[in-house]
């Protein structure tokens, strides 16, 4: 149980950290402007395009990973235990 929580937390924090860095690089027009949630660069180079894809993937990995380990797997285990009884 605690292990599952730790896995979810590790996924959420680690991918959230990388997401924050990439968003700080590519989606932050300025310190006193929109931060982390700005518009994507208009004409991204190949590297920037890859980074934006990775950022998007990490965002969903952060959410789905935490949901999987905190909700889906425990619920499935509960359901299986209920069905077994």
């Amino acid at each position: 149980m605690a292990d599952e929580f730790m896995k979810g937390l590790a996924i959420a924090t680690a991918s959230g950290l990388i997401w924050m860095v990439l968003a700080g690089w590519y989606n932050t027009p300025g310190f006193e402007d929109t931060q982390l949630l700005g518009a994507d660069p208009a004409d991204p180079s190949a590297l920037e395009a890859i980074a934006l894809i990775v950022k998007e993937g990490l965002f969903w990995f952060m959410i789905l990973g935490a949901v999987t380990f905190w909700i889906v797997l425990p619920a499935a285990r509960e359901a299986r235990a209920r069905l077994a009884n």
Binding site: M20, V21, G24, W25, F31, E32
Partner: protein
């Protein structure tokens, strides 16, 4: 088991008459009448817990050693180095990837349009805006006893004084809010007031009528406190019921 050893207490909830069956938990008056059984029951409860502990220890292959502590080197230091490197690494990583913004130099010749304290002092800043509460006393010919700014400073003393007084009014033996709904309600009221008075301090930034905001500042906290009091009060019976039920029920032997 009951035949061969009568002195052994039966703890499965059927024999002694001490323990109520699961489906009929005794009422409060019945519990009060039962002064003899409770000590016996407590003894049985802890004795069972102790024996289960002992059985688990006998089954386990974990070797207990007589160790008072671990040596600082290497045991403690390795852990400390691991934690230290983690946080130092995080600081290096963040300062390298997201270098801090350095704004333009401060201009001492102009005053900013909006001057605010740091966010954690908004509540105190809000207390300086209680001018409408400062009464105009007819005994003084419609004059106020003290200036509005003095009144705001005195309000700080009142709030801090109340916070300092609460531990003397209630020593806080409750482990959960549901155990003392009244004080939980007081606490919710205080937290809500911290937020509403902070909102009042930035009233010129909020898209809201400032008179309405002023009224809500003092209306919302008691309402939230009352709601939480009633909710906790409603939860209390069920909470105490299950607590007593757990206490009065001994698990049947496996």
């Amino acid at each position: 088991m009951a035949e061969d050893n009568d002195s052994e207490p039966i703890a499965d909830g059927s024999g002694t008459g001490i323990v109520a069956p699961d489906d009929e938990t005794p009422t409060w008056s019945e519990r009060k009448e039962r002064t003899q059984g409770l000590s016996r029951l407590t003894y049985e409860y802890f004795e069972r817990a102790r024996r289960e502990d002992q059985d688990l220890r006998m089954e386990s292959d974990y070797v207990e050693r007589d160790v008072l502590g671990f040596p600082a080197w290497p045991h403690e230091m390795i852990r400390n180095f691991a934690l230290t490197s983690f946080f130092v690494g995080l600081i290096l990583f963040l300062s390298a990837t997201l270098p801090p913004h350095i704004g333009p130099p401060a201009d001492p010749s102009t005053t900013p349009a909006i001057i605010l304290p740091d966010w954690y002092l908004y509540w105190s800043f809000g207390l300086l805006k209680l001018g409408p509460l400062n009464p105009e006393l007819s005994i003084l010919g419609g004059e106020k006893l003290m200036a509005d700014r003095t009144y705001g400073v005195v309000a700080n003393i009142v709030v801090v004084g109340f916070i300092a007084m609460v531990p003397f009014l209630n020593k806080g033996s409750a482990r959960r809010p549901v155990e003392q709904p009244f004080w939980a309600g007081i606490g919710v009221m205080g937290v809500a007031f911290a937020f509403t008075i902070a909102a009042l301090s930035v009233k010129n930034l909020l898209p809201m009528d400032s008179h309405l905001l002023f009224d809500l500042t003092f209306l919302i906290p008691p309402v939230l406190g009352l709601i939480s009091y009633t909710v906790f009060r409603a939860m209390q019976e069920g909470y105490m019921y299950s607590l007593n039920r757990r206490y009065y029920r001994l698990r049947p032997p496996k």
